[in-house]
Symmetry: C2
């Protein structure tokens, strides 16, 4: 970077540290687009601040956004400054707006203690993008005490979010098939806390019993944590305070058992792996001849991978 | 490898080339477990043979296994030798056996023209494992003319299967939420052919209309392919012959438009990327200190990734 560019990054960093939300928004854009200034900023800001990071996942239509909206209010009641990353493509935050929830979210735009950011894309390979974790680092450095990461439940994203968040909340509904999907897809094991949302629909109590049965069969979590199940009606706010207390209880559990640091390292591991994965993808895409030689059986995939990753490559 | 080992690999290869199914089974085990003999065999056998590769995906409970069973029969009627890879953890092929379908599948064990193999695990990162593609290469080298790859629809696996198969078949049912899930998860775009299975249930015709509506809005596929929709009742076999004709039509389309080679290259690309991804994962897991330095902000993830991938690392 030129000296003038260095100065502009330094200026952005200064405004960021002063708490200017426009500087945060700009920094996030730079990071998300892979701009070198974003990298430079991250290098200066990473590892500062520490938020309680809650991943919120579940099927489309489970009411994740409405529930997130309610959880933001709970956090604000307690005086927490709140950052939200929405990486769910069907979320009203990210522009899906299928359910018209967008207007409801708008109220937070009046609140300087809440910052909502939608991430345009999932990772190149379907899961959570490495850029999402970089964005998380920026939100932490900005000083948010609570960060919600909303992601849609389509397999890989759920596995990823559990690696990135301190606490993973799985939102289910009594709608037919929701529980079956969760059981079969192996998502049960990644959730620290369950919300049975739209609990006013028929079948809510049965779903809770099914979940309890399944949880009794699943292996114990680190430190002996037993995932609790909360009935909620996000639309009215019913049960949300208790759910928030559940999030707090899980955070205390992590702290008391020295597990917070392990979570932080796992998140970093995810980020490093994402970088390698993305490099692999880009270099493989660009190496038409090499790939053709593997397809013809002249090279093994391992030999091709090796030559793609040599520093001189 | 020692000379004696070389000889045993050569012997295995000889039996493989003679068409001994036990040699194929052994080769698959070696490849799946990452054994060096498996690599040696793959190096000798990769790129030989060419099957019509059909990926079959969809939600748990959509009836994928029963439909696969019926499609095997259709292929056998036409004299094709058929290989099946089941990477769906909920499939009766792989040991899920939830629906008791396993017995139905057993009939193929009497048929030397059918080889069924379950893959114990999905990829380390949730999607299809690179080993699945290696297994596919072995099945092709063994001379199967048709290969079905059954995978459960949980996001990443579906995206992966579309990269690996020539033709991707998405199995939906009129059950509530199935179509919504497909629309929202972006799976619509990866399917070449749709089966509305359990068409005898209420809502089948409506689902077809919904799919048609959604497909009209989606971008045209390579070569102008318009994904057809087939109503099926796998339990009785109704509609399966027409569906099989649909698979054939898609294959002809690929051939006529010179797209088969592109599919083959994309599959190889996936395999090379999987190798890199797996290396990245293993090396990152092993590099505790490096990851801790990134978490503390002393290194960027890019710098850590770089030092992990140096050949001397």
């Amino acid at each position: 970077m030129t000296e003038a560019q260095d100065e502009r990054v330094a200026d952005l960093e200064r405004r960021f540290r002063q708490g200017d939300p426009r500087a945060l928004a700009r920094a996030l854009t730079l990071v998300e687009s892979g701009h070198p200034w974003g990298q430079a900023l991250l290098k200066r800001l990473r590892g500062q601040g520490q938020a309680k990071v809650v991943g919120i996942t579940g099927s489309p239509g489970a009411g994740k956004s409405t529930l997130t909206d309610r959880l933001i209010l709970e956090a604000r009641k307690r005086g927490e400054r709140v950052g939200v990353l929405a990486v769910d493509p069907s979320s009203p935050f990210t522009g899906g707006a299928i359910l018209g929830d967008r207007i409801r979210m708008m109220r937070h735009h009046q609140d300087p203690g809440v910052f909502i950011r939608s991430m345009a894309s999932r990772g190149a390979l379907g899961g959570l993008a490495g850029a999402t974790v970089a964005a998380l680092s920026l939100l932490e450095a900005f000083g948010f005490q609570r960060i919600f990461v909303e992601t849609v439940g389509v397999g890989q994203s759920e596995v990823d979010i559990a690696r990135v968040a301190d606490t993973t909340l799985l939102v289910l509904t009594p709608a037919a098939g929701d529980a079956v999907q969760a059981f079969k897809a192996g998502v049960m094991e990644i959730a620290d806390i369950f919300a049975v949302n739209k609990f006013d629909l028929p079948g809510g109590e049965r779903l809770i019993q099914e979940l309890k049965g399944a949880l009794e069969l699943s292996p114990p979590r680190p430190g002996g944590w037993r995932p609790p199940i909360y009935p909620t009606v996000a639309a009215t706010g019913e049960g949300v305070e208790a759910l928030f207390e559940g999030l707090e209880a899980h955070h205390r559990h992590l702290k008391e058992h020295g597990l917070l640091e392990a979570h932080r390292l796992e998140r970093t591991r995810f980020e490093v792996e994402s970088v390698i994965q993305e490099w692999g993808r880009r270099r493989t895409q660009a190496a038409e001849d090499l790939v053709a030689r593997v397809a013809r059986g002249e090279l093994t995939p391992e030999e091709a991978a090796w030559s793609l990753l040599r520093p001189e490559a």
